[in-house]
Symmetry: C2
Subunit: 291 residues, 2 copies
């Protein structure tokens, strides 16, 4: 579902200095206002599904790695208002938006905003009780390295919570080749940017290989049909189709499709939100412990 890139990008740090990368990777979804709005809609629709079960005790030191524009940050703080949160992102612009968002919805929250790369966090080993990241690993060229860096700053016995989508879980009715191809374009573009839009299914082996223990991965499935009009609008149309539609220019620039073919695919994808249409998507939520 993809909301931010922590992979490379220009890097600095509020609290301390950090190395700058010279070749920022492209963020497949862009950084526009429309994109920020899409991410907000998405987070609201999905909040209950994704955040259920994530409650941190007051006073816990929590790191949100890759907070992006703060869409998930708001829900994290709503569920755990007493935490001492460090919210990190590689994009200064996203971080500024996140800060403004949280100032509006949770003005009394205790948040340190950290501008920097999650691979090189300037915090001592074991700084945090809990680490949370949502739609971040899918953008990393080496998610195993990202997890290792996060494990370093997590204290022994602390937990990591990771939420990811998997576009291979998307199927719908009616389903057409042209509609399917628009999703494939997004998967290819994300792979071209060094990410993996099919990462959800890999959470268990990634966390296990990174040395985490008690790895528990649960699917969180979204299914929308005519009996759930709010979900059809909020998820099928305004989250999923909007996300696919947003890569139109990039897909054209990459020579993956033509304007006519892409637009036809999007029109056919939208039929999954029309009368008799259905749409299915599975997120994965993993919780594991740093032994």
């Amino acid at each position: 579902m993809t909301t931010k890139t922590l992979t490379t990008g220009t890097v600095a740090a509020e609290a301390t200095a950090a190395e700058a990368d010279s070749h920022p990777a492209p963020y497949v979804h862009g950084y526009s206002d429309t994109e920020a709005q899409r991410l907000g809609d998405q987070a609201d629709t999905l909040a209950e599904l994704l955040h259920a079960g994530t409650v941190y005790p007051a006073g816990s030191r929590v790191l949100e790695a890759g907070c992006g524009v703060g869409a998930q940050t708001a829900h994290l703080l709503a569920a755990s208002p007493g935490v001492l949160l460090t919210a990190a992102d590689v994009s200064a612009e996203s971080l500024a938006q996140a800060r403004a968002r949280i100032a509006g919805v949770a003005p009394s929250a205790r948040v340190v905003w950290h501008h920097g790369d999650l691979h090189r966090l300037p915090f001592p080993d074991g700084t945090f009780d809990h680490v949370f990241l949502c739609f971040v690993l899918e953008h990393l060229p080496d998610p195993a390295a990202g997890l290792a860096a996060l494990r370093r700053v997590l204290r022994p016995g602390g937990t990591i919570t990771v939420i990811e989508g998997d576009h291979g879980s998307a199927f719908f009715h009616p389903e057409t080749p042209a509609a399917r191809r628009t999703i494939d374009h997004l998967v290819r573009l994300q792979a071209g940017a060094g990410g993996d839009a099919l990462l959800g299914r890999r959470l268990y082996p990634l966390l296990t290989a990174a040395g985490f223990a008690d790895v528990t991965v649960r699917p969180r499935t979204v299914y929308a049909d005519g009996g759930r009009p709010a979900l059809v609008d909020g998820f099928t149309l305004r989250t999923f189709v909007a996300m696919v539609e947003a890569v139109r220019a990039e897909a054209l620039a990459a020579g993956l499709t033509t304007p006519e073919a892409f637009d036809r695919g999007i029109a056919e994808l939208r039929r999954a939100a029309g009368p008799g249409g259905t749409f299915h998507y599975t997120f994965f939520k993993a919780v594991a412990v740093n032994p």
Copy 2:
């Protein structure tokens, strides 16, 4: 997931006479003892997932349409021991196995075994309080006609419960083209036999179009990784891979693949049950009311 064919097949009836079809459709999974064992394993592993929430009051007149070898019948009766069950199937052999199974696990259950086609049930309109069918619609050339026939024998205000899989929901890690093709073969063979292995996503429009009201469809997702060894064995290997593997001869006969390619695909599919492997599948369970 596919356990029986009610589409055509030789038809007779215990309680009354019924027309015989002259051209039985092939049952993609066959009727062997191994197949019966597979269906038993499958039903046990999935029972809790699929049957949760289905409890009928004592004395209810319930029709199970397409009981097959009784795999689901046993769970239905375990959850609702007091019902007056009519279990129907188009295969006399399957029905005999179902009868023997239920005699063993629920000897005091009140069951009328009906050998016949669900499209031509010899019961008056509104005979049943509830209708239940699991992995049946996916085999019907015209599932809408099947639902219409079942609605006829359901009383106004009665419920229908329909459970179906959708092979488009299968994704796994590691995923390879050869492994994916073995699943595609099964989908094509089932389509060739007049069925639809991707039917789960269509339950909502099918039930709505058939005139049912209050249609509620919920996904029931199976996800198996190294943290759930019983599910890896019971579902990934002994249910899903076994089901795909069982169409080997038919896929070869149809010229869809070669022995080498099929066996390599199965070997690669099995890696989803190995170290670091994961497997995902979504069933759909629909409940609706006859208005």
